[in-house]
C-alpha cells in the first residue's frame, strides 16, 4: 500500500522545489549506521520503531528515508550510545515534538479512553460469554 507514499513524496517534492537543495545535505552519520554494541543497537532499534516520522505519514522513523527521520535516528543512536535510558529519550522527544511523535500512547488526560475501553471490552466479552454459555449449559 505504500507506493502511495512515493506519490505523496513526489507531490510534496514538486510543490516544495526549493527544499530539494536542503535534501542534498549529507545525512547525519548515525542515520544509516548501526551502533557497534549489539545490545545498544537493539535498544535503539526498538525505540525507533515506536517513534513517528513527523515528515511522513504513518511510518516510524525506523521505516523511512525522509531526512528528518534520519536525523531522529541519529539523535536516538547518539543518546543511547551515551547511556541514556530509551524511555528518557522518548520523553525528551515528546517534550520537544508533542505526544504525536510517540506511537506508544501513555495514560493521560487525553488518552485514558484508549486504555479504559479495552478494559471495558474485556468485561463486556466476559459478560456476554458468561450469560450466553451459562444459560444454555
Amino acid at each position: 500500500m505504500r507506493w502511495f507514499l512515493r506519490i505523496a513524496i513526489a507531490l510534496a517534492a514538486a510543490v516544495s522545489g526549493p527544499l530539494a537543495a536542503q535534501q542534498s545535505l549529507p545525512p547525519a552519520p548515525l542515520a544509516y549506521e548501526q551502533l557497534p554494541d549489539a545490545e545498544q543497537e537493539a535498544q535503539a532499534q526498538a525505540l525507533m520503531e515506536t517513534l513517528r516520522c513527523l515528515k511522513c505519514q504513518s511510518q516510524s522513523i525506523a521505516d523511512s528515508d525522509a531526512p528528518m527521520a534520519g536525523d531522529m535516528r541519529h539523535q536516538v543512536r547518539t543518546r543511547i550510545a551515551a547511556g541514556e535510558d530509551p524511555e528518557a529519550i522518548r520523553a525528551w522527544l515528546v517534550a520537544r515534538y508533542g505526544d504525536y511523535v510517540s506511537y506508544a500512547p501513555t495514560v493521560s488526560e487525553t488518552t485514558w479512553p484508549l486504555f479504559a475501553i479495552p478494559g471495558l471490552l474485556i468485561l463486556i466479552a466476559g459478560m456476554i460469554l458468561w450469560r450466553r454459555l451459562r444459560k444454555q449449559a
Partner: protein
C-alpha cells in the same frame, strides 16, 4: 457520445433502483403488490446498466478520450493498454463506479438465481439492496460524475506517472472492493430477513456464499497489500497499523466472525440475532473503510485527494445505513428468537467464544484507528501504533487461537471435554515444549515467544479434525476449514518468526567489502549507473552466499526520477525456503576519505514468507469451503426438483 451513453445508463440504473426499492417495499407490505413482479427484473436490468456504464468508462480510457475530464487527469495516450484500463478505476470517480457496478451486478445475480428464500424475504432483501444502491448512485451522479466532459478537450493526459503504473496498484483496490461489496449483499440479506422476521438455516445458506466470497477477496487483498508494503517501502516492515491497512482489516475481522456464525445458523439454527448483527457490522466496516480511504480524513498518505464535500456525503450515507440498520435491529431483535440451545462445551460454544473475541479485536482496531481522528478534532494529536495494537490485540487473539485449536474437535450441541482429552493434552504439550525451547534459546519478547508456541500447536491441531476419517470422503468444506486454520498457524509462525529472528545490518561499504548477516555473507562487487525512461539509478551488484554456498548476484537500485524529482529504492529479495534476504542500496555514504562508500541495508528474515503463504492458504481454505457449499446447495436443489418431478408424475398417473 460514449461518455453520454455511460452517463445515461447510470441515470437509468439509478432510476431502476428507485423502482426496485418502491416495488420491493410495496410487495413487502401487501404480500404481493402489483409491482412485485417487477422487483427481480429491475434488479437484473439495473445490474446490466451499471455494467454497461462501467464498460463505457473502460472504453473511454482504452481510446484515451481526452475530452472527458477523468481520462484527461488520469490517463495518457502513451500508456500501455493494461494501465490505461486499470486507470479507469485507479481514481476516485472510477473506483466508486466500480463499487456501484459490482454491487448492482451482485444484486442482479441474487435476483436471478436465489430461489430458496420465501419470496417476501427476497423482496425485502432486494429493496434493501436498492436502498443502499440509491445512496451510492446519488453520490456518484451528484458529486463524483466519472463521465464529466471538459469544455475544451485536453491536448494530452496528465497521468503518465510511472509510479502509478504498478500492476499491484492496478489490481489491489478492485480485490478489496469485491470483498467490501460482497458484504453489502450479506447486509441486504440480513436487513431483508429482519424485516420479514424469517431468520433461519435457509437464510444462512443463501447468505453464506456471499460472505465466503467477500472474505476470500478481503483475505487476498490484505495479503497482497501487506507484501507490497514490504517490498515497496524498502525497510522490511510488512504491517504498520496504518489507518488504511486497518480499514481493510476491520471488515475482514467482522467477516471472519460472520462466516463462523452463519455456519452455526445454517447447520444448527442457532445464533440468529448474532448473525444478523454481524451482517450489519461487517458491511458497516466496509463503508467505514471506504469513508476513511475516500474522504481524505486520514493523516495518511493514501488520502492525498482531500475533498471534504465527498467526505461529508459518504459520512451521511454511513450514518443513514448503519444507523438505519441498527435501529431496525433494535426494533426487531426482540422478536427474532435466539434459536436452538447448546452447551458451553460444544462446537457452537467454541464458535461463540471465537465470535466474541473477534468482535473485541475489531473493537480494539476500531478504537485505535478512530481515536486519533477524534482527538484531532479537539486539536490534540496523538499517535496510536504497534506498541498499542500488538499487546491490546493479543489479549483477545491468544485466547481465541487457543480455543480455535480445540473447537473443531468438539461435537455440535453438546460434548464432554473428557472425550477430547488426549488431543488437548497433545496440543498443550506441543505449545509448552515450543515455548520452553524458545525461552531457553533466548527470549525474544513475550508476544513473539507466545506466537511461535501457539503457531506450532495450532498447526498440528488444525489437522486433528481429519483424524480417523477416510480422507477421500471428508467433505470439501471441511478440507476448507482445515486448510484455512492451518493457514492462520502458518501466517502466525511467519509473523512471530519475523519479529523474533530478524537480523538487520546497516553498513557503509566500499567495492570489495564483505558484510556478514545471519548465515549470509554479502559483498559489494561493483556499482554502476543505469538509466530508465525517466530515471537514472545507481545499481549495486552484490554477491550473496548462504552459509558458504555458491554466491548469487543481487542488483538493488537507488533510483532518481527527474520529473517529478524523487528518489526511490528498488529493493531485491533473495528467497530461500527458510527465509528472505532483503537488500537495499542507498546513497553514497558521507565522510569517507578515499574510496567511495555506499550505504547498504540488509535484513535476514527467517520464515518471513510464511506470513503471505499463510494468507494464501487461508484464502484457499475459503475457496474450498465455497466450492463445497455451492456444490452442496446445487445437489440439494437437484434432489428437490427430482422429488417434485416424481410427485407430479405420481399425481398424473
Amino acid at each position: 457520445m460514449i461518455a453520454e451513453l455511460g452517463l445515461a445508463a447510470l441515470w437509468l440504473a439509478a432510476a431502476l433502483s428507485v423502482l426496485q426499492l418502491i416495488a420491493g417495499a410495496l410487495a413487502l407490505r401487501d404480500g404481493s403488490g402489483e409491482l412485485a413482479s417487477l422487483v427481480r427484473p429491475a434488479a437484473i436490468v439495473q445490474g446490466l446498466l451499471a455494467a454497461f456504464a462501467f464498460v463505457m468508462l473502460l472504453w473511454l480510457f482504452a481510446v484515451t478520450d481526452l475530452s472527458v475530464k477523468l481520462v484527461a487527469t488520469n490517463s495518457h495516450s502513451a500508456k500501455p493498454m493494461i494501465f490505461k484500463l486499470a486507470g479507469a478505476w485507479g481514481n476516485h470517480e472510477g473506483s466508486m463506479l466500480l463499487w456501484v457496478t459490482v454491487m448492482a451486478l451482485a444484486g442482479g445475480l441474487i435476483a436471478l438465481v436465489e430461489r430458496r428464500l420465501p419470496e417476501r424475504t427476497m423482496f425485502a432483501t432486494l429493496a434493501a439492496q436498492a436502498f443502499v444502491g440509491i445512496g451510492f448512485y446519488a453520490f456518484l451522479l451528484l458529486s463524483s460524475n466519472p463521465f464529466e466532459r471538459l469544455p475544451e478537450p485536453a491536448l494530452e493526459g496528465m497521468g503518465l506517472n510511472p509510479l502509478l503504473q504498478d500492476i499491484g496498484l492496478a489490481f489491489h483496490p478492485p480485490t478489496l472492493y469485491f470483498g467490501y461489496v460482497g458484504l453489502s449483499v450479506a447486509f441486504s440479506f440480513a436487513v431483508g430477513a429482519l424485516l420479514t422476521r424469517q431468520v433461519g438455516p435457509a437464510f444462512a445458506r443463501a447468505m453464506r456464499p456471499w460472505v465466503l466470497g467477500a472474505w476470500i477477496f478481503l483475505t487476498l487483498g490484505i495479503t497482497a497489500g501487506s507484501y507490497w508494503a514490504y517490498y515497496e517501502l524498502g525497510w522490511g516492515g510488512w504491517w504498520f497499523w496504518d489507518p488504511v491497512e486497518n480499514a481493510s482489516l476491520m471488515p475482514w475481522l467482522a467477516a471472519t466472525a460472520l462466516l463462523h456464525s452463519v455456519s452455526v445458523l445454517a447447520a444448527r439454527d442457532a445464533l440468529r440475532a448474532w448473525t444478523i448483527m454481524l451482517g450489519v457490522v461487517a458491511f458497516s466496516m466496509s463503508m467505514l473503510g471506504t469513508f476513511l480511504v475516500r474522504s481524505g480524513i486520514l493523516t495518511s498518505v493514501h488520502a492525498f485527494a482531500v475533498d471534504p464535500e465527498r467526505g461529508t456525503f459518504i459520512l451521511f450515507l454511513l450514518g443513514l445505513y448503519i444507523g438505519g440498520a441498527l435501529l431496525l435491529f433494535a426494533l426487531r431483535a426482540g422478536s427474532v428468537a435466539e434459536g436452538e440451545r447448546f452447551s458451553i462445551t460444544s462446537r457452537e460454544g467454541a464458535l461463540v467464544f471465537n465470535n466474541v473475541m473477534l468482535s473485541a479485536i475489531l473493537g480494539i482496531v476500531l478504537l485505535g484507528t478512530l481515536y486519533p481522528l477524534l482527538t484531532e478534532v479537539f486539536d490534540v494529536r496523538v499517535s496510536v501504533g504497534p506498541p498499542y495494537f500488538n499487546p491490546a490485540g493479543a489479549i483477545f487473539t491468544i485466547p481465541m487461537l487457543l480455543v480455535m485449536a480445540v473447537g473443531p474437535l468438539l461435537r455440535w450441541r453438546g460434548d464432554r471435554i473428557s472425550r477430547i482429552k488426549v488431543p488437548m493434552i497433545v496440543i498443550a504439550a506441543i505449545m509448552l515444549a515450543v515455548l520452553a525451547v524458545v525461552i531457553i534459546l533466548g527470549s525474544y519478547g513475550l508476544l513473539a515467544d507466545l506466537g511461535l508456541a501457539v503457531a506450532a500447536g495450532l498447526a498440528i491441531a488444525s489437522f486433528l479434525p481429519l483424524r480417523g476419517r477416510n480422507l477421500l470422503r471428508v467433505p470439501i468444506a471441511t478440507w476448507g476449514m482445515v486448510v484455512a486454520h492451518f493457514g492462520i498457524a502458518v501466517a502466525l509462525f511467519g509473523m512471530a518468526s519475523e519479529s523474533a529472528f530478524s537480523e538487520e545490518k546497516l553498513a557503509a561499504v566500499s567495492v570489495g567489502d564483505n558484510v556478514e548477516i545471519g548465515p549470509w555473507n554479502v559483498s559489494l562487487l561493483a556499482t554502476r549507473p543505469v538509466a530508465g525512461p525517466n530515471w537514472t539509478a545507481i545499481e549495486g551488484q552484490l554477491m550473496a552466499s548462504y552459509d558458504g554456498g555458491e554466491a548469487i548476484l543481487l542488483k538493488p537500485q537507488s533510483r532518481n526520477f527527474w520529473a517529478p524529482p524523487q528518489e526511490t529504492t528498488e529493493s531485491v529479495l533473495s528467497t530461500r525456503w527458510n527465509g528472505q534476504l532483503y537488500a537495499v542500496i542507498g546513497n553514497e555514504a558521507s565522510g569517507g576519505e578515499g574510496a567511495e562508500r555506499w550505504q547498504l541495508r540488509l535484513w535476514w528474515k527467517p520464515f518471513v514468507t510464511l506470513i503471505w503463504y499463510g494468507g494464501i492458504l487461508v484464502a484457499l481454505g475459503g475457496l474450498l469451503a465455497l466450492i463445497g457449499r455451492v456444490k452442496g446447495d446445487l445437489k440439494r436443489r437437484y434432489v428437490q426438483s427430482r422429488l417434485a418431478g416424481r410427485k407430479e408424475e405420481g399425481e398424473s398417473a
